[in-house]
């Protein structure tokens, strides 16, 4: 029996729990058991979008320790843009130096050590939509989370990187050609791009600048991947999430997968680089499976379609022509081997462990 790696299915239709996290103090608008559609607003909250600091002591010409005597608005006060927040009367009260607020927001602190007033921008209202069609299965009011069970299509790649992000799926190019810089266009903004055999760091940076949310492609050179991953590995986030379906290098995306994904063009989806998964909410009638295939090996036979894992022809596919037991390779290793007919007709003898069954 000739045993080697067997590729696990790259996609499956299953049921997922999708958790939506709302800002602190949000109002939750659904209850457990509610049926929701993707556009349903599950909660409304407010989210601060940043802060500004003003060196008020310097502007007033007073010592930082004296600033509190001159402020006109205390921490917690709402202020409009150009409202006076501190003043200093000079020359017997005839001239007044003033500090005005540069933003509409809330004063959060007055630092007497450095003489700085810090203000938060007025929080913006945020409406959180369900994003999926399903049923609300859990609500955690203390954590402000709403969880929904939904039918999904789940893609699992070999390597990934980055946080959880969301966006509409957009298929690009060909599965066996690298994604080029010329292909990248403004319409990719906020999308999750699927396609190509390779993405380089240069193209990726272009995508980040365009606010592309995620890339699902065949491969990426290890050097590029490692430079992005840094010390946190796949949990590092560079502003985009990546899934490499095949691994490192220029590796064609499966044609079958690429063709299958066309029906999901434009669909809202979630990408999670750290777990190598793309999750696409899917309301179709396709039967769902909960079972995960974890058997990573299979039996080779003549005619089996395989992917080569050798240095010279890495990622290429071929068909098994013959199998041989206990062959002594010129490099000093005795092992079972297979004669593989590559796509260009070349016959190559490789150890069976250097093959992956793809069908």
């Amino acid at each position: 029996m000739f045993i080697t790696y067997r590729r696990l299915p790259q996609y499956r239709h299953t049921v997922h729990s999708v958790k939506r996290t709302l800002p602190q103090d949000s109002q939750i608008l659904v209850k457990i058991g509610d049926e929701v559609r993707p556009e349903k607003i599950v909660g409304i909250g407010r989210k601060s979008v940043g802060f500004r600091r003003v060196n008020a002591a310097e502007q007033l010409g007073v010592k930082p320790t004296e600033l509190k005597e001159h402020v006109t608005k205390m921490p917690g006060s709402y202020v409009n843009k150009d409202d006076v927040i501190a003043e200093n009367k000079k020359v017997f009260g005839l001239r007044t130096a003033k500090v005005t607020s540069p933003i509409k927001g809330v004063i959060v602190s007055i630092d007497e050590e450095i003489g700085v007033i810090t203000m938060n921008y007025e929080p913006e209202e945020l409406k959180i939509v369900s994003g999926v069609q399903g049923t609300v299965s859990d609500i955690d009011p203390s954590e402000y989370t709403v969880t929904m069970k939904t039918n999904v299509l789940e893609l699992t790649g070999r390597v990934g990187l980055g946080n959880r992000r969301e966006g509409a799926i957009h298929l690009v190019g060909q599965p066996d050609l690298p994604i080029s810089e010329k292909q990248v266009e403004a319409s990719w903004e906020n999308k999750i791009i699927v396609g190509g055999s390779l993405i380089t760091r240069k193209v990726l940076y272009h995508c980040i600048a365009l606010k592309v949310q995620g890339i699902v492609t065949g491969g990426m050179h290890w050097e590029d991947y490692a430079a992005l991953a840094g010390s946190r590995g796949k949990f590092e986030d560079v502003g985009i999430s990546i899934i490499l379906m095949e691994g490192y290098g220029n590796m064609p995306l499966s044609r079958e997968l690429f063709d299958y994904m066309h029906q999901y063009e434009g669909k809202f989806s979630f990408i999670e680089g750290a777990t190598n998964k793309l999750v696409v909410p899917d309301s179709s009638d396709i039967p769902r499976t909960k079972q995960k295939s974890d058997r990573v090996y299979g039996t080779l036979e003549e005619g089996t379609l395989v992917k080569l894992l050798t240095l010279q022809r890495r990622g290429e596919s071929g068909t098994i022509k013959e199998l041989h037991e206990n062959v002594k390779l010129e490099n000093g290793i005795t092992t079972d081997t297979a004669t593989v007919v590559a796509y260009d007709g070349a016959e190559i003898e490789v150890p069976v462990n250097s093959l992956e069954i793809v069908s």
Partner: protein, 396 residues
């Protein structure tokens, strides 16, 4: 009075390593241990499946079934009685983890690294270092990105075997990098003496101190005699001497079958193992000269007495790595006439006049005459290319 007929005892020893399972069938008769057969399977199948196929093939009533799940413990068991007087180390470079076991005068030390030639190799080094190590120092002019992709992919397919000599060389160079990491973290493990200072080492080393090193693990698999055996043996020895920045004189062995830990397991069962070298390959001797002489200048003469009518004289130049292809039948001594500032770990030729025992082997006798600083760096690409050319792997 009844006469007792010694019965043969059968042992089946199974080794469950992280990416490969092996089983060995041994028979002992009158304290003679013989290896009868061996089996191997990739580590991704279920252990029970492998055990079952081993039993189906070999088991007979009375056979003792033993397992090894922790190679380093039994690697230590293998060497501690065989080389009690000498500094002996086992360098086990696996696919997902590696270990160094050292034993000398009743003291042992075990160090592990959660990295092997597949898993963790690239992640333990940052990108600039790995570029240097595999890009600039690998002895090929290949597309560097492709080689790094191939290496990184080994983490996804750790059971993958090298299919060509070039892939094999990459594995051995990966092992060299791991040994280099070990040596940087634990320089004492690779020192024959307790002191790392060559002035102090001189007094400790004496005239006949040699180290014993056994290289094992998936990085060093080599199952049989083949036309390039001597070349791969030389490369294996080189990965050790270069990675570890060795000092002193070392006798080096290769466990290409992955059998060493099973012999340690059998020793636990009180099985007599008269000689490890029956089961492992003698690679030869590595002699490392200490000096700071400029490259190209002659350092002196080494005279090997290996049983020929006349001693074999070798003139050594600074910067060279010289390999003398004496096979394992050649055993003898070496005497030296070296420049004043040239030593073997602090010991000069006058002290070394008689008793430095040297062994030939599959790699031969290797003299490393590269300039040595306190932290010696590993070989550069031109040196490696030259070395590969020398051992007949220049065209792979």
């Amino acid at each position: 009075m009844e006469t007792q007929t010694a019965a043969a005892q059968t042992y089946i020893v199974t080794v469950f390593a992280d990416t490969v399972y092996r089983a060995f069938l041994f028979i002992t008769l009158h304290d003679n241990l013989e290896l009868v057969d061996a089996m191997t399977a990739p580590g991704f199948i279920e252990q029970e499946l492998f055990t079952e196929s081993v039993r189906t093939r070999w088991y007979k009533p009375g056979a003792k079934e033993l397992t090894v799940t922790n190679r380093k413990i039994f690697n230590l068991e293998s060497i501690k009685d065989v080389f009690p007087e000498q500094k002996a180390i086992v360098v086990d470079i696996g696919t997902k983890s590696s270990s160094i076991v050292s034993y000398k005068e009743g003291l042992f030390s075990i160090k592990e690294e959660d990295a092997g030639i597949a898993k963790g190799l690239l992640s333990v080094l940052d990108v600039p270092i790995i570029r240097h190590t595999f890009g600039d120092i690998l002895p090929f002019d290949d597309d560097k990105a492709a080689v790094l992709d191939y290496l990184a992919e080994k983490e996804l397919y750790p059971e993958r075997y090298p299919s060509t000599m070039r892939e094999r060389v990459i594995d051995i160079f990966a092992a060299r990098t791991l040994i280099h990491l070990f040596a940087q973290k634990n320089p004492r493990l690779f020192s024959i003496t307790r002191s790392l200072d060559k002035k102090l080492a001189k007094h400790e080393m004496g005239t006949s101190s040699t180290g014993i090193a056994i290289l094992t693990g998936e990085a060093y698999l080599d199952h049989f005699s083949h036309p390039l055996k001597n070349a791969t043996a030389a490369l294996t020895a080189f990965s050790f001497l270069d990675g570890a920045s060795l000092r002193g004189v070392w006798h080096v062995y290769q466990d290409g079958e992955g059998i060493l830990s099973t012999l340690g397991r059998l020793r636990k069962e009180k099985v007599v193992i008269d000689s490890l070298t029956r089961f492992i390959t003698q690679l030869g001797t590595v002699i490392n000269l200490d000096h700071s002489v400029e490259d190209g200048k002659e350092l002196g003469v080494l005279r090997f007495d290996l049983g020929y009518q006349l001693p074999q004289e070798v003139h050594i130049r600074a910067g060279d790595i010289v390999r003398l292809p004496f096979n394992s039948e050649h055993t003898g001594t070496v005497t030296m006439e070296l420049l004043k500032d040239v030593s073997i770990f602090g010991v000069t030729d006058s002290h070394m006049a008689e008793n430095v025992e040297v062994l030939g082997g599959a790699a031969g006798i290797i003299v490393d005459a590269r300039k040595r600083t306190e932290s010696m760096s590993i070989a550069t690409q031109p040196q490696l290319k030259h070395w590969l050319q020398d051992i007949g792997l220049g065209d792979i």
